[in-house]
């Protein structure tokens, strides 16, 4: 009867086990035990390079809707969402400062200061307005002309340290190497596009034939992509980094700002973006340490299949400020403004754009999901 006893025990055990067990979060550790994150790029990765002086006073600092939890989401920038996902400390700006033109803005400049050394170094070097190699970028005081009101926003004096210089600063301040357990992210190129589209407009207005002006811009974007790829290959991959995420430039021809420039402006923007992204993909040194994330294609899909991403509007900026750098829950369009003071502006979480070019926190969250998906497929998460 021994077999019989085993059987009855098994049946009883099955009946018992069937009633137990619920939903469990499971193992939430990424497959790679990352120890730190280092970010290079522009406003899309900036977590507060200009969160000083007048910007800090106004509650700004991120290129999105500022204020922790303003929309009910826990973070604002995609690098912050990603850090939380990877169980890393939140990123902070490696270099802060503003070359504010006091005569125009009425507040003094704030000297550039590094925060990337010591026990808890800030290793997010990304700065709003940064180009790949060249100065000045959009927002830089060098582009301010008191006689031209369209240049007024440059009086704030963004540092716009080029991405190449950001990488050099990291190497200079961190013994010239990356940790193999560091996650390094690079997202740059959009500001080169903005500068080149402006250059084409200026050249055409000055009498240069359109096709010649465009050819010059395409050549400049090819050079920028070559330089960024070379920098990633020689200053990051060759310096010990084993987990490098390069995000290509989202389709900025679909932003509210580009739409405002009309079909010709959108077409030029798209041409320059594709030139840059394609060249970048060709010149980056592929391998187990490099992950290239196609944010360009994803951003186009978000615009055409909004509902799939929980979006209802991909054309209207929710901020009433001209740049989202100064945008808070107090400066939102009526459609998404919080119902009561102190309430969260959760309605903004179906909008893609905070201002003419920058995403809402929800838009950044979508980018972090895209990067997370690619990292999971790569085996890093």
């Amino acid at each position: 009867m021994k077999k019989f006893h085993v059987l009855t025990t098994a049946v009883a055990a099955a009946a018992f086990l069937a009633g137990c067990g619920g939903s469990d979060a499971g193992d939430q550790s990424p497959r790679v035990a990352f120890t730190q994150m280092v970010n290079f790029g522009d406003s899309l990765s900036d977590v507060g390079s200009y969160d000083v002086g007048v910007v800090k006073l106004q509650g700004g600092g991120h290129f999105s809707i500022n204020g922790a939890g303003a929309t009910g989401l826990l973070y604002i920038n995609w690098t912050e969402f990603l850090a939380a996902t990877l169980k890393l400390t939140q990123p902070c700006a490696a270099e802060t400062g503003l070359n504010t033109i006091q005569a125009a803005v009425g507040v003094p400049p704030v000297p550039a200061t590094f925060h990337d050394t010591g026990a808890a170094p800030c290793l997010n070097y990304a700065q709003g307005g940064s180009r790949v190699t060249l100065q000045p970028g959009p927002g830089n005081a060098a582009l301010f002309n008191p006689a031209d009101p369209t240049t007024a926003s440059n009086a704030l004096g963004a540092l716009t340290i080029p991405v190449h210089d950001q990488m050099q600063n990291y190497l200079d301040h961190n013994a010239g190497a990356f940790s193999p357990t560091a996650l390094v992210t690079v997202l740059a190129g959009a500001n080169d596009v903005f500068i080149q589209t402006a250059t084409v407009s200026a050249e055409v207005a000055a009498g240069l034939p359109q096709d010649q002006a465009v050819a010059g811009a395409v050549a400049a974007m090819t050079t920028a992509a070559d330089e960024l790829a070379n920098d990633v290959n020689t200053m990051i991959l060759a310096k010990g980094a084993a987990h490098v995420v390069v995000v290509n430039v989202p389709d900025a021809s679909l932003t509210p700002q580009a739409i405002q420039s009309g079909p010709a402006g959108q077409a030029l923007t798209k041409l320059l973006l594709q030139t840059f992204n394609n060249e970048l993909a060709t010149k980056l040194q592929a391998g187990p340490s490099l992950l290239l994330v196609d944010a360009f294609t994803a951003s186009e899909d978000q615009a055409t299949n909004m509902a799939q991403y929980g979006l209802t509007d991909v054309k209207t900026p929710v901020c009433t400020t001209s740049s989202s750098l100064l945008c808070t829950h107090n400066t939102l369009i009526p459609a998404v403004a919080p119902a009561a003071s102190g309430a969260v502006a959760s309605a903004a979480n179906t909008y893609e754009y905070a201002d003419g070019v920058h995403p809402t926190p929800y838009g950044y969250r979508l980018l972090s999901e895209l990067v997370g998906e690619a990292m999971a497929i790569k085996g890093w998460l």
């Binding site: 086990l17 069937a18 619920g22 550790s29 969402f81 996902t85 999901e369 895209l370 997370g372 999971a376």
Partner: protein
């Protein structure tokens, strides 16, 4: 009768039936089997509902567990079999656009099945092939998520969990048993089940998946 004190009502009934002498498979016989069953889901998953990254699908890997059956012979050819067993633990992996992410979670299930069977060949012969068909009830529970699942559904937020589900389906069976002596026999069968499940995430999205598993098993049985 100490053994019976721990038995379920069903098993107790078997023991009562088992008091009679048994020879060939005959009307009124009760057969109990204990063995090992492998369930191999043939998953066709829908895309995860919005908001989500497009084309996110799931696949569910095979699992094995101890199983048991109790069969009552209505006639010498026609029988009713109750099939159950220990829970199966399946690994959930990404598919579709997230093919390659590897494990994104795990799920337990039990799927008791009731089968009406018909046996061929002579009732007192050594080998009797049979076919069966009947309903399957499946309970999905004991789910676990992962860092990857949270990263693509709620980055930086509370960890995403997967909700369980209960479903009915249908099963057909093809098998055979081989008599060792007047009580003991060996049995093997293949089952095809048509069943679906709907996994709902704590973040609100869900995905429906046809599981339609094929199961293979082998067991040792005793005729009362």
């Amino acid at each position: 009768m100490k053994k019976q004190s721990i038995a379920s009502a069903l098993v107790a009934a078997i023991a009562v039936c088992g008091a009679g002498a048994a020879h060939a498979q005959a009307a009124g016989n009760v057969l109990v089997q204990l063995g090992w069953n492998k369930i191999m889901p043939k998953v066709k998953s829908d895309d995860l509902t919005a908001p989500s990254l497009p084309g996110s699908q799931i696949d569910i890997k095979s699992a094995s567990a101890l199983f048991a059956t109790v069969t009552y012979m209505i006639t010498e050819d026609i029988s009713v079999e109750a099939l159950g067993g220990l829970p199966y633990k399946h690994t959930i992996v990404g598919a579709g656009a997230v093919s390659g992410v590897g494990k994104i979670g795990s799920i337990h299930q039990i799927s008791p099945t009731l089968l009406l069977q018909y046996r061929f060949l002579a009732a007192d012969g050594p080998f009797r092939p049979y076919v069966g068909a009947g309903p399957t009830f499946a309970k999905f529970y004991g789910t676990k998520g992962s860092a990857a699942l949270t990263a693509v559904t709620n980055p930086g937020g509370p960890a995403t969990t997967i909700g369980g589900d209960t479903e009915w389906g249908g099963t057909i069976q093809l098998g055979g048993n081989y008599k060792i002596d007047k009580h003991w026999f060996l049995d093997a069968s293949v089952l095809k089940t048509w069943i679906s499940t709907k996994a709902t995430l704590s973040t609100g999205q869900s995905t429906s998946a046809k599981l339609d598993p094929v199961s293979i098993n082998g067991s040792i049985g005793y005729t009362f």
